[in-house]
Amino acid sequence: MYGRWRLCGIYKVGGYILPGSQRLASTGGAKIGKKFENMDQIKNYLSQPVWSVREYLRVGVKEEKLELPSVKAVKKLLRLSGLPLEGADIEGIQMRLAKQLSFINKLHSIPVEGEEHKKEYNARLMQRKTRQLSYAGLLEGIRHQTQDVELGELSGSWKPTGLAAESKNVYFVIKEGLLKNRK
């Protein structure tokens, strides 16, 4: 699986990629085709789906056979996610969740071999074997800390509350109702 992914290190210190943020970039198994001549060709190309969940599921998902999560469970999830219950399309969410659960169940049904793959802490799409951090690398990483104004890291270089719909004296404002009484 990892063969189709490559790691893009973002921060480099003296040629050493910091084990910080790294985004997985997919090559999508792409192949080189004909050269595009115009914008329409590009739009047309991008509008064609090249893969489908169904390919991986092999069998179709029939909605009537889906086991819907309970309304109570959906409401609990909405609360946990900080989303409003009022006006929520519970039925629609039930259906979408059921499809997602069905997909996840399919994934779970794929046999996994080897203890290492079954460990909970490995359950993510990232390289399991990362380069070791040496003592010299650690000290170098500390020495090369620099603040990037383009990431807003310089104190006072931008006004965070300027993006907020509501603020007061440079504080973000949260209505109490969002924090409490969220039934």
Binding site: A123, Y135, I174
Partner: protein, 541 residues
């Protein structure tokens, strides 16, 4: 949490009866701590924005990057300094640092948590095991020695701060994200505490350790260190106590909760003690915050944006070399040959109270040790070890505080070699202690008057001559008799004399000696006065 559930269940330990606390042996207290410590790294944990040391006076949301306020598309980059600091603490606690650890997401929604999750270390923490040793000798606990085990240490993000306001129309929460993404270490102890003294001693010791390692200010008052308590009695379920802003709150909350649970048990109302619950401290009582039914499901998951921390073996050996001598070792060094300091004085040189702007304990210790070394060269091997102690820790520090002179400045005119010369004058009794005090204060006062600019090293001989501070070693007996008779005439009556001579009020002699010392400006020894007063008044005891 899960670990605690296991450790606390069906636990029975013996409690040492402690007269200062209301603990009863039949109701065994079992207690553990969870301590969050803010690391004083230059920058935050997953961004390079400033980790401010002046959080109480900073404008809100001043030190916030795009990542800290969780703007979409921003990603974390691990601050290596947090790894270094966590490593230092782990090694000082003799914890086992995991060669591979990882970050995980702990999901919950709250206004001061803009990501909707906290990045912490759930599945594989940074370090596990280790201990802090408490002893009767150094920490004043009842047992001769007791180890408090460490379960684990994990690195995680701090949240922002919420300020709850009540305006006329609406109750709103003001959120300051300066603290968001500041690095924390969460330390979880085993439930090894069985009385209050141990808890107090542990907090003090741990606080001093993080200051000693220069990884945190360790202040409870500013929230740089936050302590939660896990407590259970006999076989009952564990109760977690939160919102404990200082040591007295921690102690009072434990005492209150212990008492509350004992009353429930003795009253046969133990149903509420069957399941774990979380309680808060109001300042005078504990109140229920959460029970098992309302436990938050944190939906932990491995963080998909942060690679594992994969440490090469040389990191541990490298960081070990950076660890200074640890406080307990320093204390024992100072309390033994050749220094023989008292526990109190050794603590002054070892514990950082963060409360004195004139000196820090490390600089003071270095000054003391260097001066001691220089002084030892000037006097016999068996020369008084007490002189450097009393004159540096008590007189010199007292003068610095009184005159508001920082030690670093005072050291310029009184470097260890010069201070050792001053101590030698006292040792060979060229000047009396009283004259020494006057001389030292005069030197420092003049230095202060020059705005600490006159850096000329004091000429002791010249000053002693100038102010006539030489001790009078050969006292004329006739003159001394007259001098003492004057004092007796001025300060005593018949009753005073009767009580003194009969031995009913022996301390009165000290009063007369004090008067003599005062009037002679300390140039005549106290022993001379004692001899003379006894002779004049015919004191036989």
């Amino acid at each position: 949490m899960l670990r605690f559930a296991r450790c606390y269940s069906l636990a029975r330990t013996k409690v040492t009866r402690n007269k200062s606390t209301p603990f009863r042996p039949e109701y065994a207290l079992k207690c553990g701590l969870e301590i969050h410590t803010q690391l004083s790294t230059r920058n935050k944990l997953f961004s390079q924005s400033t980790n401010s040391t002046t959080s109480l006076v900073d404008a809100p949301n001043q030190h916030t990057s795009f990542y800290d306020i969780a703007l979409p598309g921003t990603q974390p980059v691990l601050n290596m300094e947090a790894i270094l600091f966590a490593m230092k603490l782990s090694l000082a606690l003799e914890s086992q640092v995991n060669s591979v650890s990882q970050f995980d997401r702990k999901h919950y929604f709250y206004g001061d948590q803009p990501q909707g999750y906290q990045v912490t270390q759930h599945y594989r923490p940074f370090a596990q095991g280790g201990k802090i040793n408490l002893s009767k000798e150094l920490d004043g606990i009842d047992e001769l020695s007791k180890d408090i085990g460490i379960l684990q240490l994990q690195i995680e993000q701090d949240t922002g701060k919420s300020h709850y306001t009540d305006t006329e129309k609406d109750v709103i929460t003001l959120v300051d994200l300066n603290r968001s993404n500041v690095p924390l270490i969460e330390l979880v102890t085993k439930p090894d505490f069985s009385d209050i003294k141990q808890v107090k001693a542990f907090i003090k010791k741990y606080q001093n350790l993080v200051r000693h390692l220069h990884i945190s200010s360790g202040d409870l008052e500013t929230g740089a260190m936050r302590v939660d308590v896990n407590l259970s009695i006999n076989e009952f379920a564990r109760v977690e106590l939160k919102n404990l802003p200082n040591t007295s709150s921690i102690i009072d909350a434990i005492k209150y909760e212990y008492q509350r649970q004992v009353e429930l048990i003795t009253g046969g109302e133990t149903s509420s003690l069957m399941e774990p619950e979380t309680r808060g401290w109001t300042g005078s009582s504990t109140v229920k915050l959460r029970s098992k039914e309302t436990t938050i499901d944190y939906r932990y998951m491995p963080d998909p944006e942060l690679p594992y921390i994969n440490l090469a073996p040389d990191v541990i050996s490298g960081v070990k070399r950076l660890i200074p001598q640890l406080p307990d070792d320093i204390m024992r060094m100072l309390m033994n040959k050749p220094y023989h300091l008292s526990l109190k004085d050794a603590k002054i040189l070892t514990y950082n109270s963060n409360q004195n702007d004139m000196y820090n304990h490390e600089a003071l210790r270095t000054y003391y040790l260097d001066t001691f070394c220089e002084f030892s060269r000037l006097v016999d091997k068996d020369g008084s070890a007490k002189l450097p102690t009393s004159w540096i820790i008590h007189e010199f520090l007292g003068d610095l505080n009184k005159l508001q002179i920082p030690l670093t400045n005072a050291q310029e005119i009184l470097p260890p070699a010069v201070f050792a010369q001053f101590l030698r004058l006292l040792h060979v009794e060229t000047i009396s202690p009283t004259s020494g005090k006057l001389l030292l204060f005069h030197i420092l006062e003049n230095f202060k008057k020059s705005n600490c600019q006159d850096l000329s090293v004091p000429n002791f001989s010249k000053l002693i001559k100038k102010f006539g501070l030489h001790a009078i070693n050969k006292v004329n007996s006739q003159e001394l008799t007259e001098f003492c008779n004057d004092i007796i005439a001025q300060h005593t009556d018949d009753t005073f004399k009767q009580n003194l001579v009969s031995g009913k009020k022996k301390t009165s002699l000290k009063f007369l000696i004090g008067q003599g010392m005062r009037q002679s400006q300390g140039r005549i020894k106290a022993s001379e006065f004692e001899k003379k007063f006894k002779e004049i008044l015919n004191i036989q005891w």
